[in-house]
Amino acid sequence: MPDTGPVKPERHHSVCPHDCPSTCALAVERLDARTIGRVYGDPDNAYTAGVICAKVARYAERTHHPDRLKVPLRRSGPKGSGRFEAISWEQALDTVAEACLRAEQKHGSQAVWPYFYAGTMGLVQRDGINRLRHAKKYSGFFQTICVNLAWPGFIAGTGALRGSDPREMAESDLVVIWGTNAAATQVNVMHHATRARKERGAKIVVIDPYRNATAETADLHLMLRPGTDGALACGVMHVLFKEGFADRAYMARYTDVPDELERHLESRTPAWAAAITGLPVQEILDFARLYGRTKRSFLRLGYGFTRSRNGAVNMHAASCLAAVTGAWQHRGGGAFHNNGAIYHWNKTMIEGLDVVDPSIRLLDQSRVGAVLTGDRRDLGDGPPVTAMLIQNTNPMVVCPDQNVVRAGFSREDLFTCVHEQFLTETALMADIVLPATTFLEHDDLYQGGGHQYIQIGRKLIEPVGEARENHYVIRELARRVGASHPGFAMTAWELIDWTLKASGWPDAATLAAGKWHDCQPDFEHTHYLNGFKHPDGKFRFAPNWSRVGKQAAGMPRLPDHWEVIETATDEHPFRLVTAPARNYLNSSFTETPTSIAREARPTVMIHPEDAGALGIVEGGLARLGNRRGSVLLHARLFDGVQRGVIVSESVWPNRAFIEGKGINTLTGADSPSPNGGAAFHDIAVWVRGENAPAARAAAEQIPA
């Protein structure tokens, strides 16, 4: 026997930075100063509970990927050609700063548009770009792409973005997972929900347009047409009122217009809801009665079902269920979407909030194509955008209306700097590409939207190649373009410490030593038993939509099916959902070999009867199109959708598609009510078989 066994790698605390509500507490194996091993969920964290998704567990594949960007690059061929030459950091930063100064001299400061998003959710590395923007009066960034349909919809009723403790799901007797494929995108939800099933015999209901991995686990799956969740909610509430499940005493005390709601729902019968949702009446009844008779019913309301032009209305309608039955009164009952409102940050130093000039215009993230192609609805009377600094986001893949986005980024008079971990398709359009660290290579501070912890993730390994953190780039550019703010003089760690102290949380050293801080408010508060967050303390069945957005005109007064979605027509008979793929997260992880192998190739899932009618066969080619463009991809026959509904799990890089055009070619960039956003699952399209001669002949009869 040898005297010693193999040395077990050290494990260090970290935090998953990716764009997901779970913000998992991690235990990361460090093999040496430059290398990580396997990544585990921290079993001591009550929300993570030792469970993380497979794609993060194999994060070494991403951190140590041979394609990581390792040195700064300067474009040496036409835009998008992929021809670059290596340059030094000094040269690169000087070039970017000069371009920004030149743009400013020619058109004013608003010609520069810093552009970023949630490729990392760390508060310092993600949001520090705002400090530069505010100090320099660059064009503002109106963040719309993810939450702007969901959050206003939830807040419309409750008055605040918070709800029952998500860990309480394990104490529920009925978990309703509404419009989120948690098994694929937020595995922790499934952990707590299945605990409730195992320990209490709880039922799990899934509401989703397709039979995804989450729906496979459900006791009841309501497979509705996309964008009809408001109709389902109304049909369910109709039954709750009619069959004695409405808690009238609760509503009298805690809600605004219960009598008006009851009268309004009189005509929203289960048959009405069935006609709109495509669900059998009996399923609506089964769900309504199960929900009505179960006191501890937990609504886990996701983002997916809000990515529709009526998404805010649908979110509000779904949230109304708990106010009708009074489920909020019970432990394991109520509703949860996001915990944003439980945190009280002072982000002055990170974002430069003390130097904000409110007269500077805001440009809509989701309308980047329109902005860059000079749409006056976006630019107003202001100058064109001629310089961009982009961090942690990949608009050339993820933004709506890709043909317009591509035209915008192709502009010869637009200078683009992209600070990234990989040569994404946005980086391919850049003039200067800077290599970025991953979360394991820098310090940052995180809050969990889907739980109640704040955490610090420390730098665990040396940066790969010459990669630098976002904060470094912002500081160095600030120096070069003459921006001044005390935040530029601080290190990332000092910013973390300042922010924590100014926000009334434990300081950085204490937080790092304790791994996390539990910010969970008490039961009465999270269940709104002290009143909802409106002046009269009452939940709003009839919300004041203009309070949660500037584009509230025409929104329905009460929960309803709001017919502003792209309905199927003769020209566009199908409704497309671009649901998230299990092994990708937006466009992150589309570079890792295991994720690519598991997802295989861009695919459209289509009902076998629809496929048959179009001459599309399993594995054959299908072209999807609308007035925005068309994409060509492979088909999979799948009966886990209603007829007329198709699903393409996303977001694959454009280059993975046969013709180099990705799924967001088909997505609209119109700005939905009440506050903008992106309707990724609200797309009407036509479908044609491309490799069946009969189908091709038939398709030629159809005008494009």
Partner: protein, 140 residues
């Protein structure tokens, strides 16, 4: 305008399903009941008088079912004064006592259930259990 229309109507099999569900619910609640199930026109299809229920509830439960079938809404919502007058005007066929519920399928009343012998709320609860037993049916 067509001279006729077709009407969906509860079958005896459907009525017996509803009746049995009502009996099971009443047993679970330990409140013996008289239960009447009618078609959409208010004609009796099935009836049960559970041991311990009140004999005169034979009349009231049947009247409740008939009232619900005729008015297409649950009984008990008419203003008290008008309720009595309507009862007199219809020779006692209409009642405003709680416990009558219409059975609706696809927006059409196909039948009704009337329950009597408990409190108004108990009667209603038992009747609702009967509706839930009929495939695709909900309460008008």
């Amino acid at each position: 305008m067509s001279d006729t229309f077709s009407q969906r109507r509860l079958t005896l099999a459907g009525a017996l399903k509803a009746l049995n569900a009502c009996i099971a619910k009443a047993e679970a609640m330990k409140v013996p009941q008289c239960i009447a199930v009618t078609d959409d026109a208010g004609h009796l299809l099935a009836f049960a008088r559970m041991e311990g229920s009140k004999v005169l509830s034979i009349e009231s439960s049947t009247a409740k079912a008939r009232t619900a079938a005729s008015s297409r809404v649950q009984t008990g919502s008419i203003h008290a004064e008008v309720g009595v007058k309507l009862a007199i005007a219809t020779g006692g066929k209409l009642t405003n006592l709680k416990g009558g519920v219409p059975i609706v399928i696809d927006g059409q009343v196909v039948g009704a259930i009337g329950v009597g012998s408990g409190t108004g709320e108990q009667d209603r609860e038992v009747a609702l259990a009967g509706v839930a037993a009929v495939q695709g049916a909900y309460v008008g």
